[in-house]
Symmetry: C2
């Protein structure tokens, strides 16, 4: 009998990814890892800290709105921010293919230095490995980040409560659209720009208005659909979102329509979902809208104990289930 | 003019590696990173912590004495141990090639789980990326580790002092020999086993006898030669080692002789160098020899302010400079 192999669908961020992660974790006995948060949280004395890792294999490595270096810093910083952590320290590990341009390496390193400086996170440890020509694709970057979670903040994918409001911080689908547009060399009139950005300042502003935010999540691989499904499952709650309220730019709408793609499944790299008690919504939304990265923020739905899974209300008012991604629409998006 | 590219010699751990790292760090302004330690050290309140990252691209992924999973856990744990840290938390990120066997993935994951359990380090965050067939070689693993450095411990590659003794914890060259033997399918009578192992317990024992150890270093890529050169340079001291005292097994000696390799440049994955005041040497050595991983420990040399660089004394008593590795003898050793 031939042994099963890993295929591209295991990288979706959806159900097939979860299958593979289950296989990897089969021999692990670990409560923190099993929580499937964006970051692991631990305590040193009385100080709560968040720790997260991500490898970046995006293709192309330079794209409209960023590059693999900026993405590698923002992506991992955003993961610890989704636990409410303030980013402090970062590691940087590169796997380079023999023959990779030193000029491109310098450009990417510069982008990493600039982005980490903006965020105020210090890169304090690193590693570089070189593999032979054809044994990797140009450059892969891994970053891990450490941050401090302040007292009183308790954010988790499992904390969504009945009646909580759901806000998304801006237009969705931009990162995946930008990458696909460039990768396939589509000739559209306007180029879509990746939303690749760091969310630490936005989270900071939001937590000042409402330290009682229950869930934060950045809908990267698998898009809004994967993140909402994870939250519903972890919290053992239902989620209902309103299709008419989801912020999407005209460009992304048009791009997706032409290619038959669903923006709800498309990766974002500078957006977040906030789930919090209804009474804080107006204050949070007002603050978010004053900040560039939150100016298109919208209330998109509610958490309910009366349902399971994630449901989406259409223009006509009918409900359909928003299932998890199970096919890889676009590999190597991040 | 054609732009310069990255080549395999940039992965030696020697001078060419340092050139590449200099390029990557060109835009960074960071005191901790510039120290070039095995791990970055920072403080949270009064608690000193060490943080390190490493990517593993070893080929073959299963070898005599270990596999890429065991190596990925031990390698990064050893890096924080070299700052005197007790390992606590780890991240695990995998890049998988489309078509990689799920059975092999399960074996590697099991090895990771077993090794981390033995060490007592918890894997609390992870990531998995899949790239297309031919865009990576089977599996690459990145781990990052966090540990606590207890009060009074102050270990650094820059701390070697005039008159300090240098101990190496056991026979050198075993990891690189094992990998090369297997990769090239050499038919020797006896197989050389990689020394791949975690050094946390050995370091623990040593620090109990002598909390005043000045330098610890695990001589991985670039071998003993690269580590000693880094220490001499960071400490602005000279190092003199005695060729007759360096512990090498008969098998590794024979293997290196036949292939014309120098074991001083060959990677180890379960050995350490300790540099400490002379008065502690007998006590440290006695303790080390009682422990399996230290039973072949030897005093190999001394630190001196009267020289620069690293020097090796031959059987006849003559001195020659032990320069850094500058050619890649064997890529993808770790």
């Amino acid at each position: 009998m031939q042994s099963k192999t890993v295929d591209l669908s295991h990288g979706t961020g959806g159900d097939k990814s979860n299958e593979l992660i289950k296989l990897i974790k089969k021999n692990f006995d670990n409560k923190i890892l099993n929580k499937m948060e964006d970051a692991g949280v631990f305590a040193i004395g009385n100080t709560k800290m968040a720790f997260s890792t991500d490898s970046f294999v995006v293709d192309p490595i330079f794209f409209n709105g960023g590059d693999i270096g900026k993405l590698a810093v923002c992506g991992t910083v955003n993961d610890i921010c989704m636990m409410g952590a303030k980013p402090l320290f970062m590691s940087l590990a590169m796997i380079l293919e023999e023959g990779f341009s030193q000029n491109d390496l310098l450009k990417i390193s510069k982008s990493i230095a600039q982005t980490s400086k903006k965020i105020g996170i210090q890169i304090i440890t690193g590693d570089t490995k070189i593999v032979g020509k054809g044994k990797a694709d140009k450059i892969f970057i891994n970053t891990s980040a450490i941050g401090i979670v302040e007292d009183g903040i308790n954010i988790s994918a499992s904390n969504a409560c009945d009646g909580d409001d759901i806000i998304v911080s801006g237009n969705i689908g931009e990162h995946a659209s930008a990458i696909m547009m460039q990768r396939n060399n589509f000739k559209f009139k306007t180029k879509i720009k990746s939303d690749c950005n760091h969310l630490n300042e936005l989270v900071d502003i939001m937590l000042k208005v409402c330290p009682k935010i229950n869930v934060l999540r950045d809908p990267t691989r698998g898009g809004l659909a994967a993140s909402l499904n994870e939250i519903a499952q972890s919290s053992n709650m239902g989620i209902v979102i309103d299709n008419t309220q989801i912020p999407i730019s005209q460009q992304v709408k048009a791009f997706c329509k032409i290619l038959g793609l669903d923006p709800l499944y498309m990766a974002n790299e500078g957006k977040l979902i906030s789930i919090h008690p209804h009474r804080y919504t107006n204050a949070i939304l007002a603050k978010m809208k004053k900040y560039t990265l939150g100016k298109n923020a919208k209330i998109i739905g509610k958490v309910t104990k009366n349902k399971k899974d994630v449901w989406i209300k259409s223009e006509s008012g009918s409900l359909r289930r928003l299932i998890n991604a199970d096919l890889e629409q676009y590999p190597r998006i991040c």
